[in-house]
């Protein structure tokens, strides 16, 4: 096994394991910390694919800003076993299980159908993920979607400000 493969498997186990623990852990703060581990593992995958910019932006935005806000809110609300008693509603439990199984079925079916899954992604090759090429692509070929999404972000930001103003 080459180093790349070892890294790939290590990161994959880390990502999937982190995601499992995120769902399984009882304490919401621990859940968030597991999610941060998952984000780091995903960033590691991006680096293996030579997409450095995506990797570091994933860390800055998701692990560095959004997760801090999550942590912030959870810590402020002080969620724990006393304030959140375990789910007792049988109907909810059954419906949740069935819904989860349906999702699994759909995912497995989709993966079986698609033909590209049998091809391995080319590791470390290509420089499309380097910041220069990415910037060129974003501001020439994809400039319209880029601007549209920036308008979306702006409107979301203004919306947040308006909502917080109403409360005061």
């Amino acid at each position: 096994m080459s180093i790349t493969e070892i890294l790939f498997w290590f990161l994959s186990v880390l990502a999937v394991g982190g995601a499992m623990l995120l769902v399984a852990s009882k304490n919401p703060v621990h859940s968030i910390l597991y999610l941060i581990i998952t984000f780091f593992a995903v960033s590691g995958h991006y680096i293996l694919l030579n997409a450095q910019f995506l990797a570091i932006v994933n860390i800055i935005v998701y692990a560095g800003a959004i997760m801090v806000l999550f942590l912030f809110v959870v810590m402020l609300m002080n969620l724990n076993a006393d304030s959140e008693p375990p789910q007792k509603n049988r109907l909810l439990l059954y419906s949740g299980t069935i819904a989860g199984c349906c999702l699994l079925l759909v995912l497995v079916a989709a993966l079986k159908q698609s033909s590209t899954t049998s091809q391995l992604v080319e590791m470390g090759g290509g420089d499309a993920g380097l910041i220069k090429n990415l910037g060129m692509a974003l501001f020439s070929d994809y400039v319209f979607p880029f601007e549209i999404s920036s308008v979306l972000f702006l409107s979301a930001m203004i919306g947040a400000v308006v909502i917080s103003k109403k409360e005061a």
Binding site: S2, I3, T4, L7, N27, V29, L33, I36, Q52, F53, I56, V57, I59, I60, A63, G64, A65, V68, L69, L71, F72, M75, L76, M123, G124, L130, I131, K132
Partner: protein, 356 residues
């Protein structure tokens, strides 16, 4: 194979990492001593002068004292996270050093060894990512100690760092527009020509914003609300004792040193020696001696920033919380945006040969 790296490179980088980590620890150690001396001079006192000549063994004595104190882990805290907090604070503080070019290169054993651990083409974004990780140490530690005042300190730290990161990022965008690269090595190399090619000349306002944000990111006075002892008993490290407390305090000094290093390489020419033709002088005395001079110059510049950090701490009182938020969101971010727009307009004009 993608990651087949030769042994010599690994050894070279390993040696470099050890040197950088050790020297930042040493510098942070003596920064604590310098802080007390500077405070003493400003308050017309003598400062620590008992341990060793002029008290230069004082940091060693402080370290030993912290190591020998009793470890206390609160009963109702989550122990793993309680220990993880200071570890994370130290780790993220040390990580920034990896992308800073401490000097040009040295020539040993027929190899050119660049004095930079990793020259990645997203250098400055890496610094940013590490800085945004830095808040986790404080937040996790403060939450895990199961103390209201600690938690308040941690939340203050988080909101402060997130708020000032925005203005810092926007002021950096203006700088990156003029340099056209994210690699710290290239940014430093662009400033080698002479002292007026330093980025501080091109981006004075950007530098000022960056400096203020760096103060806030390091939790230094006037932005040290997370550890406002008269409001929060002790701040985020109320429950900590012994070396775990020491790690938190020490991480602050390492952060200070490394953010000084980042500011030097971004705005003050990095290892460039002003009023000296570096290339010609390097031929006269050899590359290795030149690298030593460069590293010395870099440390000198960083040390003057460290002094600025201390100077401000012992001169300016702490902000109130609403003042802090107002400064961040209503003054610095609009200023940084204006700076960015003006810079963009200038660059466009320049590319158009100064015609509208």
């Amino acid at each position: 194979m993608l990651l087949s790296i030769e042994l010599a490179l690994i050894l070279e980088k390993l040696a470099l990492i050890v040197v950088v980590v050790m020297s930042s620890l040493l510098i942070a150690m003596y920064a604590t001593f310098a802080e007390r001396k500077v405070a003493a001079i400003m308050q017309d006192r003598r400062g620590p002068n008992r341990a060793g000549p002029f008290g230069i063994l004082q940091p060693v004595a402080d370290g030993l004292k912290l190591f020998f104190k009793e470890e206390i882990i609160p009963n109702l805290s989550s122990k793993f996270l309680f220990i993880l907090g200071p570890c994370l604070a130290m780790l993220t503080a040390m990580m920034t050093g990896a992308v800073i070019p401490w000097g040009d290169k040295v020539h040993f054993f027929d190899r050119d060894i660049p004095l930079q651990i990793a020259d990645i083409n997203i250098g400055i974004l890496y610094v940013f990512g590490v800085v945004s990780m830095g808040v986790y140490g404080i937040m996790i530690g403060s939450w895990a100690s199961n103390n209201k005042f600690s938690l308040m300190g941690g939340l203050r730290a988080a909101s402060q760092i997130i708020s000032y990161e925005l203005a810092m990022g926007i002021s950096l965008i203006a700088l990156l527009m003029t340099t056209g690269t994210l690699s710290l090595k290239e940014i430093v190399e662009q400033q080698q020509e002479s002292w007026y090619s330093w980025n501080i000349i091109k981006q004075p306002l950007g530098f000022l914003i960056f400096l203020i944000c760096a103060f806030a990111e390091c939790n230094r006075t006037p932005f040290d609300l997370p550890e406002a002892e008269n409001e929060l008993i002790g701040g985020y490290h109320t429950e900590y004792s012994s070396m775990k407390l020491g790690f938190f305090l020490f991480a602050e000094y390492i952060n200070m040193f490394l953010s000084s290093a980042v500011m030097v390489s971004l705005f003050f020419g990095g290892y460039d020696i002003p009023f000296l033709n570096d290339a010609a002088f390097a031929e006269k005395i050899g590359i290795n001696w030149m690298a030593l001079l460069h590293a010395g110059m870099f440390l000198l510049k960083a040390a003057s920033f460290l002094f600025l950090f201390m100077w401000v701490r012992w001169t300016i009182p702490r902000f109130r919380y609403d003042q802090l938020m107002n400064l961040g969101w209503k003054v610095l971010i609009p200023l940084a945006l204006i700076n960015m727009l003006v810079t963009g307009a200038f660059i466009l004009l320049q590319q158009n040969n100064w015609h509208f």
